[in-house]
Symmetry: C2
């Protein structure tokens, strides 16, 4: 993981469809050398994949929300199985603190969101935060400062 690898990560986080030819040009290396570095980053699990970012509102999902929930230990397995069957649930993190899980989901309408929450809080008390705006849009991972 040298400077050039971080430069590649930065370029690919910015535009995952950039050609190897262009990547090579930007890091001042030959095409096979750049390609080889990207392959190594993939094989090392540092690059987990390449995804298109879809705008939820433009795609017809009017509402995004974050839901925190506390689930009693014995119910956790069943709870996760339920989440798996609901495609509107986009992300779920198991966290420390007062809550067990924090979930990110989308819904086509408030009525739909209400139905989703009804299903979810069969497993525990929920706290719902509706996303009004995203002042800091998802950002690329940078090279950690050397001295920290």
């Amino acid at each position: 993981m040298d400077e050039l690898d971080w430069k590649l990560l930065s370029l690919l986080q910015d535009n995952a469809r950039m050609t190897y030819t262009e990547l090579a040009r930007q890091i001042h290396l030959s095409v096979p050398a750049a390609t080889e570095r990207v392959k190594r980053l993939e094989d090392a699990g540092i690059i987990e994949g390449y995804v298109a970012k879809v705008n939820a509102v433009a795609a017809g999902y009017a509402v995004s929300a974050l839901i925190a929930i506390t689930v009693p230990q014995p119910a956790k397995v069943k709870f996760l199985k339920l989440l798996d069957t609901i495609p509107q649930i986009l992300e779920c993190h198991h966290v420390t603190g007062a809550d067990s899980y924090i979930i990110r989901l989308v819904a086509v309408s408030m009525a739909s969101l209400e139905r989703l929450i009804e299903q979810i809080n069969l497993y525990g008390e929920t706290r719902t935060s509706i996303v009004m705006s995203t002042p800091l849009p998802p950002r690329a991972l940078k090279q950690p400062p050397a001295s920290k």
Copy 2:
């Protein structure tokens, strides 16, 4: 936005580096037709971009956390300016409910996380949830069910 557009979105959310030739093959259309559809999805703002997913732990960030914070109205602008200067902050949503903002960030160590939180809670009371695991890894946006 017909079935084929959703199929394209699904394929590109799964592998943003898929070639137009392969995309065309999968949706049983000619290459120019598939290319044209993708361009239209981009121009319509439905596809916002293409990003490489980087594994934070593999990249040297041992800790991920979600922080909820309540910021008094007059301090919000300064608060957002601070967030902008901290590269470890990857995401920030303005939400309804008890909290003003929910932030996602990474840190190389617990000590580093502590320093970041110290900076952030100059602006309000924070509630920190450290991510232990992600049982449901970030998922693709699917076509909303027609009947809801």
